[in-house]
Amino acid sequence: MPDQVQLRVDGKAVTVPAGATVAVAVALAAGFCRRSITGEPRGPVCGMGICFECRVMINGEPHCRSCQILAEANMDVRTNG
């Protein structure tokens, strides 16, 4: 297993350690995960899949909890998804 994983967040390449979650990649690349229904920026809160604040779109699938999914090479992550 390689030590590093490269993926894209909003089209931008990000490298994270292998085993890191998508939430970490998003924190490094974008600073927030989604816009709330009134437009506020939101990022991870509970870190354990309960609060749903860290939702992003992964490979076209919306509403994915980025804190519960490990980053994979070439993943396409979109904030506000």
């Binding site: 229904i37 699938e61 919306p62 509403h63």
Partner: protein, 376 residues
């Protein structure tokens, strides 16, 4: 125990009871609204909130169309959280026989002043790209709309209160008898008229009513803006919803103003517990995937059930009850209570003040259940 005296007591603060209370208080009656639960907390909260003109019968058409026009008149006053959205209904034909039904419906609505348009397969695919592309076509009824019913009920109750109505929540009605309403907590109301608008609970208070709970399931998804744009209903719905005995499912999806989708529908008789029935739920959802395969991959937030108040002839009971001269009924709306609440209230108020109603009241008079045996 003191007795609270009103001109009218409305039992039930669902959308139907709320509308009746509003209408009667605007006729300068002194009105009380009584409900064992919340405003709009029963079938009103459990249903879809589709404002729709239907054509199962002339009477149903008259009441739904009249009611829809009342909603359109009310629209400018509705607060934002009622989320009135004129998204239109698409009646989807899966095959040629159903396309014949589209043509028949188009003519029927047109003859009665409701503009609709027939969509070809291509036009339908363009309008609703998530639908399976091999549908035969559809009928678009553009004036149909969706609302968020609990907030609509709250708005209508608040309007009644502005006209002097008073709301009593959390007290269960034990008995209605000749202008008197007794709650289980001992509270007693005395009124010139009592309106039984208790939905499926109505027969518990007016024992000879033939109203049966008809269970339905719904699923709500997370937000998928623009996934579907209209309330989309299969025309097979007509066949399945017509059945008054067997369990049935039919494809019916609704875009909420939030971007969420409600997926329905199911109809069951004789199911008296409110738990989700996984077998019916599966059948209902698989029916939906036959029309919109992409729904399978959307995220469901909740599944729940509700009970529609169904009458044998599928028309509501609106008007005086022959066994109690002070009792009026406003119940039995089955799956159309949100739409027909306003028309129901208008018919009831016209009856109370002796005004000529804007539609024929006879088909809805509760006396009909006395006069004839209704065959299913």
């Amino acid at each position: 125990m003191s007795v609270r005296v009103y001109d009218a007591v409305v039992v039930g603060a669902g959308i139907v009871g709320a509308a009746c209370a509003d209408r009667l208080s605007r006729e300068h009656l002194n009105v009380a609204i009584v409900d064992r639960g919340l405003v709009g907390g029963g079938a009103t909260a459990a249903g879809m909130g589709h404002i729709v003109t239907m054509d199962d019968s002339e009477a149903q058409f008259a009441l739904t169309r009249f009611s829809q026009q009342l909603w359109i008149e009310l629209r400018p006053e509705l607060p934002a959280d009622v989320e009135y959205r004129q998204c239109g209904t698409l009646w989807v034909a899966a095959d040629e026989p159903e396309m014949q039904e589209v043509i028949r419906k188009h003519r029927y609505y047109g003859e009665r002043g409701v503009a609709t348009s027939i969509l070809t397969r291509m036009e339908l695919a363009e309008l609703e790209p998530k639908l399976r592309p091999d549908m035969a076509g559809a009928l678009l009824v553009p004036e149909d709309a969706v609302i968020y019913p609990p907030c609509a009920a709250r708005f209508v109750v608040a309007r009644a209160e502005q006209h002097g109505a008073e709301t009593f929540l959390g007290g269960t009605v034990e008995r209605i008898d000749n202008g008197s309403v007794l709650l289980t907590n001992g509270t007693r109301f005395s009124a010139g008229i009592v309106v039984n608008a208790a939905g499926i609970a109505a027969p518990a208070l007016t024992s000879t009513l033939d109203i049966k709970p008809r269970k339905g399931h719904l699923v709500i998804t997370d937000r998928y803006p623009d996934f579907v744009r209209h309330q989309i209903v299969e025309l097979g719905y007509l066949k399945s919803a017509h059945s008054v005995t067997a369990d049935s499912v039919a494809f019916n999806v609704q875009p909420r103003a939030t971007g969420q989708m409600l997926i329905g529908s199911s109809r069951q008789y004789g199911a008296d517990h409110s738990q989700v029935d996984d077998i019916i739920l599966s059948r209902m959802l698989r029916r939906a995937f036959e029309y919109i395969p992409g729904l399978a991959r959307t995220s469901a937030l909740r599944a729940w059930t509700g009970f529609r108040a169904a009458t044998p002839d599928k028309l509501p009971l609106i008007g005086p009850w022959p066994e109690d001269r002070r009792l009026l009924l406003a119940t039995g709306h089955e799956g159309l209570g949100i739409t027909t609440s306003l028309g129901t209230a208008a018919l009831l108020a016209d009856h109370v003040v002796g005004r000529t109603p804007r539609i024929q009241p006879e088909p809805f008079l509760p006396a009909r259940t006395f006069l004839e045996h209704v065959h299913a």
